[in-house]
Symmetry: C2
Subunit: 457 residues, 2 copies
């Protein structure tokens, strides 16, 4: 059996590994566009910051590891066509050479492309000018070279988690950093405004300038670097920078699949069922190129996250070798560390829940991470969203200090949502307690009690 | 409605608060044997160590807080009899005065008493001699006075979590500390031997001498303090100490209730149904004096933990004022921090599971707490126990560094067990990830995959 996988990032590699684990004689061939299979793209900010000194360590597994696991890798080879009838993938490699690779089963894991916002001048500027849409290892090396050449100031367009992680990284490298966000808050797709304010304060406490409600209208080269023209609540302004990073989200990279007849779903992402099957015979897809089934929504949405890509890839790989795995669905769970603060979210935010037909209520509470009498206790800002009709837990957001176990506290709530749990369930969970690390009722349980008390009054 | 509660610790106070919250005109009277209502007994080691400078801050709530919440407190008043027919509790207070307090509903929250192992001489020695069964605030003050008088060495009998927390506390105070444990490992009721070894190493790394397989046969006063005679695998030996702490677990304090006709259940603890009702009319009980319903066991067991006491107290308080709450059941979830290590467990250990009729398998794995390329990654020693017939997750133990979010990682697994989840479910949970705080598959998911892979091979 010949399994061909297009894409060498989280979904593609995971699919290949799972296929070989279940069927060690399957012939697994991966077509990888660059020279960096199985790299941790999420780790790029920490290489740029200098915390990870060697970029090679960003590889989840080395090429040797992958080959030992039975994956045949075609690096720096680009898939340019899929012939579904002939069951071949045509590729380009080397100095324009081409070939057709035959498959019995195909997994498309082409990932995503960075969004390019409508900023005048953006199309004309590139890495040579100090303007980047950070997405690949090649982009990463271009950025670090610019830093090594002595760049002193940066404008980051977009205050999503990648924008903020890069703001921290560049600040750690000593640059003056300004984050420009078109919407009214940082992390606009992750946090409610009240909690986002805490993140904004932490950025500013660490010397990052944050400008929300600000659209970038144009970018141009000046004699002294780059000039970023902005519009702050309709007031024009201008920022100077040696380096501009555009981090305004991603969109699914689907052209190849669509040209072969693949159906698309939410947001133009590839349609797949929960077995990661496309509409094309024996063709699966996984990762940032597909729409995402969500445990709290009837219809798929789009959640391009590494965690999701791994799980979808695992399902695709299993099913491609004859399995019957099902993707359990996403909750959009995510966490980001910004300097000494950690922000995390899972499930639906209040407006999302309302839009999906729930009747949500969201209650704010501020429980401590552990007993206040023990040194180092810090408050956790917590939004809990539940359905007022059924009592079902729908979502949560937590912002707290880096010692407050935020990342795994959000996971407690994500686990309860996974099982369809109610807000009241949370208070009854048998969670661990010792004074330096928690409370008899954990912070998440105090939040659940607060939600319920708020419904009664 | 007159609600009388006997006991002013976690279960009693929580019951009273819940009753008043639901029914603000209920007359709630608490009979509290000492002067320290609502004290965090779990915090005592951190006061002894000096990390909590003021013992008063160990109060979850002050007397004023409790009275403002509508609880009438009778401090230093001891309940000595319950007349179920007359619906009165007779008490002794002050200089031997007595009275009878009438009730419509009664909640018994008398807690537990420290076990007194059969050690020759133990009955004849007390605080004046430097021998303590640490249980009350009065015991605590006696210990700290002994420390303030310059005690230089301590023997701790029992390597349960209280024994080990006190070992750390006394070591932090500069004492030579030896922990003597009759069984073959530390934390014998919490961890499997393989994981307990890590805790033992951490204790020794911090200068605590640990002697397992060692029974204390007698304690006697010598001219230079105390002589603790031990038997190490049948070899007699002797330890000198200025201070001996006996921490060999607790047993339910039930005499008062039993004398009034209360039925007992597991281990002599008071029988209660899941509504915390005893067999006596209008009499409820909660906390360390009652047996514990367990989500993975058909029959009650005994799990004297603060977390359990709070939840049972809440149910008792709710039902005493006409509610219909149900105690959701324990998983025995617990966590202890020993110096720079955190050890946690939830659910059943392999032999417990086998004894309860499951067909368990336990698999060891050692995933990192976060991506190894990011500085500070530490391995987590992890035992996952699942049922080989149904695939159900039955239990887990985790030991790792203090930055490894062990306390809340065990809670993810406790939450899954709460909902009857399978080991395979764990791998499908949508958990949060950022390189400094996790992995695309979290450590608990890597452990779940390892368990499954181990079943296949």
């Amino acid at each position: 059996m010949r399994l061909v996988i297009i894409g060498g990032s989280d979904a593609g590699i995971r699919a290949g590994l799972r296929a070989r684990q279940l069927d060690p004689i399957t012939d697994v061939q991966l077509v990888v566009a660059d020279d960096y299979p199985n790299f941790s793209i999420c780790g790029i900010p920490y290489y740029v910051s200098g915390e990870v000194p060697d970029w090679r360590s960003l590889a989840h597994r080395t090429k040797d590891d992958l080959e030992s696991a039975g994956l045949q890798l075609y690096l720096q080879e680009r898939a340019v066509g899929i012939d579904v009838d002939a069951r071949t993938v045509s590729t380009v490699f080397g100095a324009g050479e081409t070939r057709a690779i035959g498959y019995d089963r195909l997994i498309i894991a082409t990932g995503a492309l960075p969004n390019k916002p409508p900023i005048a001048g953006l199309d004309q500027l590139g890495a040579d000018d100090g303007v980047y849409l950070l997405h690949t290892m090649a982009d990463t090396f271009a950025v670090t070279q610019t830093l090594d050449r002595g760049a002193r100031s940066a404008v980051i367009v977009g205050a999503g988690y990648i924008g903020l992680e890069m703001a921290e990284a560049l600040r750690n490298r000593g640059l003056d950093v300004t984050v420009v966000e078109q919407l009214g808050q940082v992390l606009p797709r992750t946090l409610d405004p009240k909690l986002a304010t805490l993140v904004e304060t932490e950025l500013e406490r660490n010397g990052v300038t944050v400008s929300c409600d600000t659209a970038v209208t144009s970018i141009a080269r000046s004699d002294f670097g780059l000039q970023v023209n902005v519009s702050l609540v309709d007031q024009p302004g201008s920022l100077a920078a040696d380096l501009v990073l555009v981090a305004t989200g991603v969109r699914p990279d689907t052209q190849l699949a669509v040209d072969a007849g693949a159906k698309t779903g939410f947001g133009g992402a590839l349609f797949v069922d929960t077995g990661m099957r496309t509409n094309l015979p024996d063709v699966y897809a996984a990762g940032d190129c597909v729409h995402t089934h969500h445990r709290l929504l009837d219809d798929p949405t789009y959640v391009p996250l590494g965690t999701t890509a791994h799980k979808q890839g695992r399902v695709a790989g299993e099913n491609a070798v004859g399995g019957s795995a099902t993707y359990a669905g996403s909750l959009g769970t995510q966490v980001v560390r910004i300097f000494d603060l950690v922000a995390a979210a899972t499930g639906l935010r209040d407006p999302e829940a309302a839009g999906a037909g729930y009747q949500p209520a969201t209650v704010y509470s501020e429980p401590y991470d552990h007993k206040v009498y023990y040194p180092g206790a810090t408050p956790i800002a917590l939004h809990l969203t539940g359905d007022t009709v059924t009592g079902r837990l729908l979502g949560a957001q937590l912002v707290g200090g880096s010692s407050a176990q935020i990342a795994k506290r959000v996971d407690i709530l994500a686990t309860a949502i996974h099982y369809g749990g109610s807000v009241d369930d949370i208070g009854t969970l048998d969670l661990s307690y010792t004074p330096p690390l928690g409370s008899p009722y954990d912070a998440v349980q105090i939040a659940a009690h607060a939600w319920r008390d708020n419904q009664i009054t």
